[in-house]
């Protein structure tokens, strides 16, 4: 890496960092602020890494000018092992919540935004940011990070940064939060938390994440700040083709706002592909003969040295054409290669390659055109052996590295600060299922019951729903309406990290009285007023896909008032507990408890029935 290259990179990162600072100062939404702060941290770390690299290069240049002593140089010192690709993927960091926190799910949900910085050589990559709260058992990062030029003595530093996701750090703090902070008495722990929030650097000794001295002042910008939570360093000995667990060094303590109870280890898959396994190290024309064969039976082949074998093809084109090689000679740690004395029958030297297959020793002899060729081949073999000795277990078999697919744009999930403070149903899809409609004559367009969209309504005001039925029939809705309120999938589905899908349920108590609206047109209107309340924690369960929901006895959360309803002339004034004929919405659903108990009662009272229960 040249000086000018590094300088260009530093300039680029400084520009990125300035952009991140500006974004941080300007944004108001929490998730934007967290992302901007993450970019800021990444850029700062990169700048420091580049600057220390620059420093090292300058020092190396100075050293080069000093004349080297003769004892320093040596034939083996000049040999450098080949570089390789190192990939780390499937990072998973287990958390260790207190069981009271995890299972009972009480109290405020303390959330942190976390991400990892991975540094190898001069390259620094960051993973995506994940929001973590006590409903998660592990922090998982799906990213695959590939470092292209790593030497076998590499050190891959993994750093986990965390930032508390609840501090009020945006410029305009809502008065509600301020009021709640002031009103709650500052106990010892609350006071500590506030103090920790105000002095982010107080808890962790290393707040810039790097060991290099600070050469540039990190701009202090108001906003979320990430702190180093844990780190570890991986090297060649940790490379394996499967998942392994590594220990983490944790910084910070429980008093810090960004604290997460880490289990203390990290699982990941660290794979390496040295270039000697993926690239052709040497190729050329040779003459091969098997040991013990007639000297005249030399076969001319095009040999390619790659990975753990020397593949001999009949033609050079066969290599690219993926044709099976005519002969494959294994080259591994056990192989012995010797250059023999000059062959009296031909020019050039012989190279003999011996392998042990089981109890047998098989030797192949190669003959090259000239001494220079022999020398190049021997040099290639020595280099190959050296690479394999340096890369150790990576040269046994080629480890698979999946290149990260081009980044799909992250699904836009506007994270809400708090569902309970800012509910705007926009738009609201209201699904109404009307059960047990008794009609004097069935209209054909019964399934033409239209779903109305709400353009905008907040939970404070009641929502108006208008159903329109076309046709000149009198529709008597005798039973109850079950109403499902769904927040539009985009707005309400939490991201995968949270694992909770909150659905709004509004259950309407049975309607017993209806009166027909006075209108002359053929359409009849049913107007409802719906008051929506945020769900209590007991409703935080995935909702069945069917349009029927069990009528819960404790459905006193919503009040329903009808502004107009059908006439009560028919025998529709039942208590609303007529169970419909087909109570199952789907093949698997169970009839609601209310209906079932009624049915059981009736069935039990009738001795002629042989009762059947669905389980």
């Amino acid at each position: 890496m040249q000086d000018s290259d590094i300088q260009k990179k530093i300039d680029h990162e400084i520009r990125m960092r300035d952009g991140a600072c500006k974004l941080l100062a300007a944004c108001s939404q929490r998730d934007q602020a967290l992302e901007a702060a993450k970019s800021l941290q990444t850029c700062s770390t990169r700048i420091m890494a580049y600057m220390s690299e620059l420093q090292r290069m300058k020092e190396a240049q100075v050293m080069q000018n000093v004349p080297r002593r003769s004892s320093d140089a040596g034939p083996m010192d000049d040999r450098l092992p080949c570089k390789g690709k190192v990939a780390i993927s499937d990072l998973r960091i287990p958390l260790m919540w207190k069981d009271t926190e995890y299972f009972k799910n009480k109290g405020e949900l303390h959330r942190c935004a976390v991400f990892c910085l991975l540094q190898l050589g001069g390259e620094i990559f960051d993973t995506d940011m994940v929001i973590v709260d006590r409903t998660l058992t592990d922090i998982c990062f799906d990213n695959t990070i590939v470092f292209s030029e790593a030497s076998p003595g590499f050190e891959l530093r993994v750093e986990l940064y965390s930032c508390c996701s609840e501090d009020d750090y945006s410029a305009g703090s809502t008065p509600r939060k301020l009021a709640s902070k002031l009103s709650s008495s500052l106990g010892r722990s609350a006071g500590k938390k506030l103090r920790a929030a105000m002095e982010p650097g107080a808890c962790s000794p290393v707040s810039n994440g790097g060991a290099a001295p600070l050469l540039l002042p990190v701009p202090s910008v108001p906003g979320p700040k990430y702190h180093l939570l844990a780190h570890t360093t991986l090297s060649l000995s940790h490379v394996q083709d499967s998942f392994r667990t590594h220990d983490l060094t944790i910084s910070g303590n429980e008093e810090c706002s960004y604290w997460l109870p880490l289990y203390g280890s990290m699982c990941c898959r660290l794979a390496a592909q040295p270039h000697c396994m993926t690239r052709q190290m040497m190729a050329g024309w040779l003459k091969v003969k098997q040991c013990g064969g007639d000297p005249k039976t030399w076969t001319k082949v095009y040999a390619v040295l790659k990975a753990t074998s020397l593949s001999c093809y009949q033609r050079q084109e066969d290599v690219d054409a993926n044709v099976e090689p005519a002969l494959t000679i294994g080259i591994n740690k056990e192989t012995r290669i010797r250059a023999s004395e000059k062959d009296p029958h031909g020019k050039g030297q012989n190279i003999s390659i011996s392998n042990r297959y089981g109890g047998e020793e098989v030797t192949h002899t190669l003959n090259t055109e000239s001494r220079e060729d022999t020398h190049s081949w021997m040099e290639a073999f020595w280099q190959h052996f050296y690479d394999m000795s340096q890369w150790k277990q990576c040269c046994d078999d080629l480890m698979k590295i999946e290149l990260p697919s081009p980044r799909k744009p992250a699904p836009v999930t506007p994270k809400q600060g708090s569902l309970y403070h800012e509910m705007v149903f926009h738009p609201l899809l209201l699904q109404i299922s009307i059960s047990n409609i008794i009609l004097d004559s069935l209209p054909e367009s019964l399934d033409g019951i239209f779903l109305q969209h709400f353009s905008k309504c907040s939970y404070k005001e009641p929502a108006r729903l208008t159903l329109e039925f076309e046709g000149s029939h009198n529709i008597f809705v005798i039973c109850f309406l079950q109403c499902l309120l769904w927040h539009l999938a985009n707005q309400n589905q939490s991201n995968t990290g949270e694992g909770l899908i909150r659905k709004w349920k509004s259950i309407i108590s049975p309607i017993t009285k209806w009166s027909r609206s006075e209108c002359n047109s053929n359409t009849q209107h049913f107007n409802f007023n719906l008051r929506i309340q945020p769900p209590s924690s007991s409703l935080l369960a995935p909702h069945p896909a069917s349009s029927h929901s069990p009528l819960s006895q404790r459905s006193t959360q919503t009040t329903l008032s009808c502004s107009s309803s059908t006439s009560s002339s028919s025998s529709s004034n039942s208590e609303g507990s007529h169970s419909p004929e087909s109570s199952e919405g789907g093949p698997f659903s169970r009839p609601s408890p209310a209906r079932r108990s009624l049915r059981n009662l009736r069935a039990r009272l009738d001795p002629r029935n042989w009762l059947q229960s669905h389980v």
Binding site: P542, P544, P550, P587, S589, R590, Q612, S613, V615
Partner: protein
């Protein structure tokens, strides 16, 4: 498969393990039961002996967890998770199957074809 009061009941049984399917707030097994000591056994279409007051499988939801596990219509349930089903009321049986805290039920069931199979195998290998 009827019983003589005071004598032990013997039957060839098969173990069936059904994983309950979570459907919203309910855990579903996917079959219906009939019978019980409080029910009229004469109306049981599946029992051989019309005085058998045991619990029988009367309906299987196609593709449901019970069908997948190997339960068949007409099976008589002898035990549910260790609880006896040969001398229970209908509601007691239903309750043992629909415990909310359990997401798997292990049944011991018996059916006519099992008896036949054992008889045939015994017949072809008269080693006893």
């Amino acid at each position: 498969m009827s019983f003589v009061p005071g004598q032990p009941v013997t039957a060839v049984v098969q173990r069936i393990e059904i994983q309950k399917l979570c459907q919203g707030e309910n855990l579903i097994l996917g079959f219906s039961i009939g019978g019980g000591i409080d029910q009229d056994p004469g109306q049981n279409p599946f029992s051989e002996d019309k005085s058998d007051k045991g619990i029988y499988v009367t309906r299987i939801t196609p593709g449901g967890p019970a069908e997948v596990a190997g339960l068949r219509i007409g099976d008589k349930i002898m035990q549910v998770n260790g609880w006896d089903m040969t001398m229970v009321t209908h509601d007691q049986a239903r309750k043992k199957l629909t415990k909310k805290r359990e997401d798997v039920v292990r049944l011991l069931i018996t059916r006519k074809s099992l008896e036949e199979a054992v008889k045939h195998s015994k017949g072809s290998h008269p080693r006893q």
